[in-house]
Symmetry: C2
Subunit: 118 residues, 2 copies
DNA sequence: GCCCATACTATCGAAAAGGATACTGTCATG
DNA sequence: CATGACAGTATCCTTTTCGATAGTATGGGC
Protein backbone atom coordinates (compact mmCIF):
# COMPACT_ATOMS: atom_id res chain seq x y z
CA UNK A 1 0.00 0.00 0.00
CA UNK A 2 1.20 3.48 -0.73
CA UNK A 3 2.77 5.19 2.20
CA UNK A 4 0.79 7.75 4.07
CA UNK A 5 3.31 10.45 4.56
CA UNK A 6 0.60 12.87 3.80
CA UNK A 7 -2.08 11.00 5.58
CA UNK A 8 -5.52 11.32 4.23
CA UNK A 9 -7.18 11.73 7.57
CA UNK A 10 -6.41 15.00 9.21
CA UNK A 11 -8.67 16.80 6.84
CA UNK A 12 -8.95 20.38 7.81
CA UNK A 13 -10.05 22.64 4.94
CA UNK A 14 -6.55 22.33 3.51
CA UNK A 15 -7.15 18.64 3.00
CA UNK A 16 -7.35 18.64 -0.76
CA UNK A 17 -4.03 20.42 -1.03
CA UNK A 18 -2.46 17.97 1.35
CA UNK A 19 -3.81 14.93 -0.40
CA UNK A 20 -2.85 16.22 -3.82
CA UNK A 21 0.70 16.75 -2.68
CA UNK A 22 0.69 13.32 -1.14
CA UNK A 23 0.38 11.84 -4.60
CA UNK A 24 3.30 13.65 -6.16
CA UNK A 25 5.49 13.59 -3.13
CA UNK A 26 8.27 11.07 -3.27
CA UNK A 27 11.79 11.76 -4.26
CA UNK A 28 11.32 11.17 -7.98
CA UNK A 29 7.62 11.28 -8.71
CA UNK A 30 7.34 14.83 -9.86
CA UNK A 31 10.23 14.52 -12.28
CA UNK A 32 8.83 11.31 -13.65
CA UNK A 33 5.44 12.89 -14.22
CA UNK A 34 7.07 15.91 -15.72
CA UNK A 35 8.93 13.84 -18.27
CA UNK A 36 5.86 11.82 -19.07
CA UNK A 37 4.07 15.01 -20.06
CA UNK A 38 6.04 14.74 -23.29
CA UNK A 39 4.78 11.27 -24.07
CA UNK A 40 5.20 7.58 -23.40
CA UNK A 41 8.55 6.40 -22.14
CA UNK A 42 10.18 3.05 -21.53
CA UNK A 43 11.70 2.11 -18.21
CA UNK A 44 15.20 2.52 -19.51
CA UNK A 45 14.45 5.85 -21.10
CA UNK A 46 13.20 7.29 -17.83
CA UNK A 47 16.25 5.91 -16.17
CA UNK A 48 18.48 7.70 -18.60
CA UNK A 49 16.54 10.94 -18.19
CA UNK A 50 17.02 10.90 -14.45
CA UNK A 51 20.67 10.08 -13.96
CA UNK A 52 20.78 9.54 -10.22
CA UNK A 53 17.90 7.18 -9.81
CA UNK A 54 18.51 3.54 -8.95
CA UNK A 55 16.35 0.87 -10.57
CA UNK A 56 14.96 -0.01 -7.19
CA UNK A 57 13.72 3.50 -6.57
CA UNK A 58 12.48 3.97 -10.08
CA UNK A 59 10.42 0.82 -9.92
CA UNK A 60 9.17 1.82 -6.53
CA UNK A 61 8.04 5.27 -7.58
CA UNK A 62 6.50 4.05 -10.81
CA UNK A 63 4.51 1.45 -8.95
CA UNK A 64 3.17 3.98 -6.51
CA UNK A 65 2.18 6.30 -9.32
CA UNK A 66 0.44 3.39 -10.98
CA UNK A 67 -1.37 2.41 -7.78
CA UNK A 68 -2.59 5.95 -7.46
CA UNK A 69 -3.87 5.85 -11.00
CA UNK A 70 -1.66 8.58 -12.37
CA UNK A 71 0.20 6.48 -14.90
CA UNK A 72 -0.35 3.32 -16.91
CA UNK A 73 2.09 0.48 -17.32
CA UNK A 74 2.12 -1.63 -20.45
CA UNK A 75 4.16 -4.80 -20.60
CA UNK A 76 5.13 -6.29 -23.95
CA UNK A 77 5.81 -10.01 -24.00
CA UNK A 78 9.08 -9.74 -25.84
CA UNK A 79 12.70 -10.44 -25.11
CA UNK A 80 14.48 -8.41 -24.04
CA UNK A 81 11.57 -7.06 -22.06
CA UNK A 82 9.82 -3.85 -22.92
CA UNK A 83 7.59 -1.86 -20.61
CA UNK A 84 5.97 1.42 -21.51
CA UNK A 85 4.86 4.05 -19.05
CA UNK A 86 2.42 6.80 -19.91
CA UNK A 87 0.19 9.29 -18.15
CA UNK A 88 -3.34 8.13 -17.53
CA UNK A 89 -6.13 10.68 -18.04
CA UNK A 90 -5.92 11.37 -14.32
CA UNK A 91 -2.21 11.90 -14.58
CA UNK A 92 -2.69 14.16 -17.55
CA UNK A 93 -5.14 16.19 -15.50
CA UNK A 94 -2.27 17.11 -13.25
CA UNK A 95 -0.61 19.04 -16.01
CA UNK A 96 -1.75 22.45 -14.70
CA UNK A 97 -0.34 21.60 -11.29
CA UNK A 98 2.98 20.52 -12.72
CA UNK A 99 3.12 23.56 -14.89
CA UNK A 100 2.33 25.83 -11.98
CA UNK A 101 5.16 24.27 -10.04
CA UNK A 102 7.51 24.60 -12.98
CA UNK A 103 6.63 28.22 -13.57
CA UNK A 104 7.04 29.07 -9.93
CA UNK A 105 10.31 27.20 -9.68
CA UNK A 106 11.73 28.85 -12.76
CA UNK A 107 10.71 32.27 -11.52
CA UNK A 108 11.80 32.00 -7.92
CA UNK A 109 14.53 29.46 -7.53
CA UNK A 110 18.17 29.83 -8.29
CA UNK A 111 19.86 26.95 -10.03
CA UNK A 112 20.74 25.40 -6.76
CA UNK A 113 17.37 25.67 -5.24
CA UNK A 114 17.59 28.42 -2.66
CA UNK A 115 14.65 30.70 -3.23
CA UNK A 116 15.44 34.30 -4.05
CA UNK A 117 13.39 37.43 -3.66
CA UNK A 118 9.93 37.73 -5.12
CA UNK B 1 19.32 23.28 7.99
CA UNK B 2 16.38 22.28 5.90
CA UNK B 3 16.36 18.69 4.89
CA UNK B 4 17.10 17.73 1.37
CA UNK B 5 14.49 15.20 0.68
CA UNK B 6 14.09 16.77 -2.65
CA UNK B 7 17.71 17.55 -3.14
CA UNK B 8 18.57 20.50 -5.21
CA UNK B 9 21.33 18.81 -7.11
CA UNK B 10 20.07 16.24 -9.54
CA UNK B 11 18.81 18.89 -11.86
CA UNK B 12 17.47 17.34 -14.97
CA UNK B 13 15.01 19.52 -16.88
CA UNK B 14 12.40 18.69 -14.26
CA UNK B 15 14.55 20.41 -11.69
CA UNK B 16 12.35 23.40 -11.08
CA UNK B 17 9.36 21.21 -10.39
CA UNK B 18 11.36 19.12 -8.00
CA UNK B 19 12.80 22.05 -6.14
CA UNK B 20 9.45 23.77 -5.87
CA UNK B 21 7.93 20.68 -4.37
CA UNK B 22 10.85 20.42 -2.02
CA UNK B 23 9.78 23.64 -0.39
CA UNK B 24 6.21 22.66 0.31
CA UNK B 25 6.92 19.07 1.11
CA UNK B 26 6.80 18.22 4.75
CA UNK B 27 3.91 16.76 6.53
CA UNK B 28 2.21 20.03 7.43
CA UNK B 29 3.71 22.72 5.26
CA UNK B 30 1.09 22.84 2.58
CA UNK B 31 -1.76 23.11 5.08
CA UNK B 32 0.05 25.83 6.95
CA UNK B 33 0.60 27.82 3.79
CA UNK B 34 -2.94 27.24 2.76
CA UNK B 35 -4.29 28.67 5.99
CA UNK B 36 -1.94 31.60 5.82
CA UNK B 37 -3.43 32.56 2.47
CA UNK B 38 -6.29 33.98 4.51
CA UNK B 39 -4.06 36.21 6.57
CA UNK B 40 -1.73 36.41 9.54
CA UNK B 41 -2.09 33.79 12.23
CA UNK B 42 -0.67 33.26 15.66
CA UNK B 43 1.06 30.05 16.67
CA UNK B 44 -1.87 28.92 18.74
CA UNK B 45 -4.34 29.70 16.01
CA UNK B 46 -2.51 27.53 13.52
CA UNK B 47 -2.36 24.83 16.11
CA UNK B 48 -6.09 24.94 16.55
CA UNK B 49 -6.66 24.90 12.79
CA UNK B 50 -4.63 21.73 12.39
CA UNK B 51 -5.83 19.44 15.14
CA UNK B 52 -3.29 16.66 14.86
CA UNK B 53 -0.11 18.62 14.84
CA UNK B 54 2.18 18.56 17.85
CA UNK B 55 3.90 21.75 18.94
CA UNK B 56 7.24 20.21 18.09
CA UNK B 57 6.27 19.53 14.51
CA UNK B 58 4.50 22.83 14.10
CA UNK B 59 7.55 24.75 15.25
CA UNK B 60 9.71 22.61 13.03
CA UNK B 61 7.66 23.17 9.90
CA UNK B 62 7.24 26.89 10.55
CA UNK B 63 10.96 27.32 11.00
CA UNK B 64 11.69 25.55 7.73
CA UNK B 65 9.18 27.68 5.90
CA UNK B 66 10.79 30.73 7.41
CA UNK B 67 14.29 29.60 6.44
CA UNK B 68 13.09 29.11 2.92
CA UNK B 69 11.68 32.62 2.91
CA UNK B 70 8.07 31.66 2.42
CA UNK B 71 6.75 33.08 5.67
CA UNK B 72 7.66 35.76 8.18
CA UNK B 73 7.77 35.40 11.92
CA UNK B 74 7.07 38.34 14.18
CA UNK B 75 7.73 38.09 17.89
CA UNK B 76 6.04 40.50 20.30
CA UNK B 77 7.79 41.09 23.59
CA UNK B 78 4.74 40.55 25.73
CA UNK B 79 3.57 38.08 28.28
CA UNK B 80 2.05 35.70 27.57
CA UNK B 81 4.11 35.50 24.39
CA UNK B 82 2.69 36.35 21.02
CA UNK B 83 4.15 35.32 17.69
CA UNK B 84 2.56 36.11 14.35
CA UNK B 85 3.11 34.18 11.19
CA UNK B 86 2.33 35.55 7.76
CA UNK B 87 3.15 34.85 4.14
CA UNK B 88 6.11 36.74 2.75
CA UNK B 89 5.83 38.08 -0.79
CA UNK B 90 7.58 34.92 -1.93
CA UNK B 91 5.08 32.81 -0.03
CA UNK B 92 2.23 34.79 -1.48
CA UNK B 93 3.62 34.11 -4.93
CA UNK B 94 2.91 30.44 -4.34
CA UNK B 95 -0.79 31.12 -4.28
CA UNK B 96 -1.34 29.87 -7.84
CA UNK B 97 0.44 26.66 -7.02
CA UNK B 98 -1.58 26.10 -3.88
CA UNK B 99 -4.76 26.92 -5.72
CA UNK B 100 -3.88 24.53 -8.53
CA UNK B 101 -3.33 21.79 -5.99
CA UNK B 102 -6.57 22.60 -4.23
CA UNK B 103 -8.57 22.63 -7.43
CA UNK B 104 -7.08 19.36 -8.54
CA UNK B 105 -7.61 17.75 -5.18
CA UNK B 106 -11.21 18.85 -4.96
CA UNK B 107 -11.90 17.61 -8.45
CA UNK B 108 -10.15 14.27 -8.31
CA UNK B 109 -9.90 13.04 -4.78
CA UNK B 110 -12.56 11.40 -2.70
CA UNK B 111 -12.84 12.53 0.88
CA UNK B 112 -10.41 9.91 1.98
CA UNK B 113 -7.84 10.59 -0.58
CA UNK B 114 -8.00 7.79 -3.08
CA UNK B 115 -8.11 9.34 -6.50
CA UNK B 116 -11.11 8.59 -8.65
CA UNK B 117 -11.51 8.63 -12.39
CA UNK B 118 -10.74 11.70 -14.42
C1' DG C 1 26.57 -23.15 -24.58
C1' DC C 2 27.51 -18.27 -23.54
C1' DC C 3 26.73 -13.49 -23.87
C1' DC C 4 23.81 -9.66 -24.24
C1' DA C 5 20.07 -6.43 -23.48
C1' DT C 6 16.14 -5.05 -20.69
C1' DA C 7 13.46 -4.68 -16.72
C1' DC C 8 13.35 -5.66 -12.92
C1' DT C 9 13.85 -8.03 -7.52
C1' DA C 10 16.19 -8.95 -3.03
C1' DT C 11 18.74 -7.73 0.91
C1' DC C 12 21.07 -4.67 3.85
C1' DG C 13 21.76 -0.66 6.18
C1' DA C 14 21.87 4.41 7.07
C1' DA C 15 19.50 8.57 7.47
C1' DA C 16 15.58 11.39 7.87
C1' DA C 17 10.95 12.35 9.28
C1' DG C 18 7.68 12.32 12.51
C1' DG C 19 5.08 11.17 16.97
C1' DA C 20 4.53 10.96 22.30
C1' DT C 21 5.36 12.99 26.31
C1' DA C 22 7.05 16.09 29.49
C1' DC C 23 9.28 20.34 30.60
C1' DT C 24 10.68 25.70 30.45
C1' DG C 25 10.13 30.82 30.95
C1' DT C 26 7.63 35.15 31.82
C1' DC C 27 4.60 38.24 34.02
C1' DA C 28 -0.21 39.81 35.22
C1' DT C 29 -3.78 38.21 38.11
C1' DG C 30 -5.90 36.47 42.29
C1' DC D 1 3.10 33.05 46.48
C1' DA D 2 0.65 30.00 43.27
C1' DT D 3 -1.83 29.90 38.78
C1' DG D 4 -2.43 30.28 34.07
C1' DA D 5 -1.80 31.64 29.18
C1' DC D 6 1.21 31.20 25.30
C1' DA D 7 4.92 29.67 22.57
C1' DG D 8 7.76 26.99 22.43
C1' DT D 9 12.08 22.98 23.93
C1' DA D 10 14.00 18.58 25.11
C1' DT D 11 14.31 13.72 24.90
C1' DC D 12 13.28 9.40 23.25
C1' DC D 13 11.78 6.20 20.04
C1' DT D 14 9.40 4.24 15.79
C1' DT D 15 8.44 4.45 11.07
C1' DT D 16 9.51 5.70 6.54
C1' DT D 17 12.52 6.67 3.00
C1' DC D 18 16.24 6.05 0.26
C1' DG D 19 20.79 4.40 -1.51
C1' DA D 20 24.28 0.69 -2.58
C1' DT D 21 25.02 -3.55 -4.28
C1' DA D 22 24.15 -7.84 -6.28
C1' DG D 23 21.12 -11.20 -8.28
C1' DT D 24 17.04 -13.02 -11.50
C1' DA D 25 14.66 -14.12 -15.91
C1' DT D 26 14.20 -14.59 -21.03
C1' DG D 27 15.39 -15.81 -25.59
C1' DG D 28 17.89 -14.42 -29.90
C1' DG D 29 22.60 -14.10 -31.96
C1' DC D 30 27.31 -15.84 -32.17
Amino acid sequence: MAKARHSRFDCAPGCAVEAAIGLIDGKWKSIILYHLLDGTLRFGEIRRLIPNVTPRMLTNQLRELEEDGLITRTVFAVVPPRVDYALSPLGRSMEPVLQALKVWGDAHLGLYGKPHAA
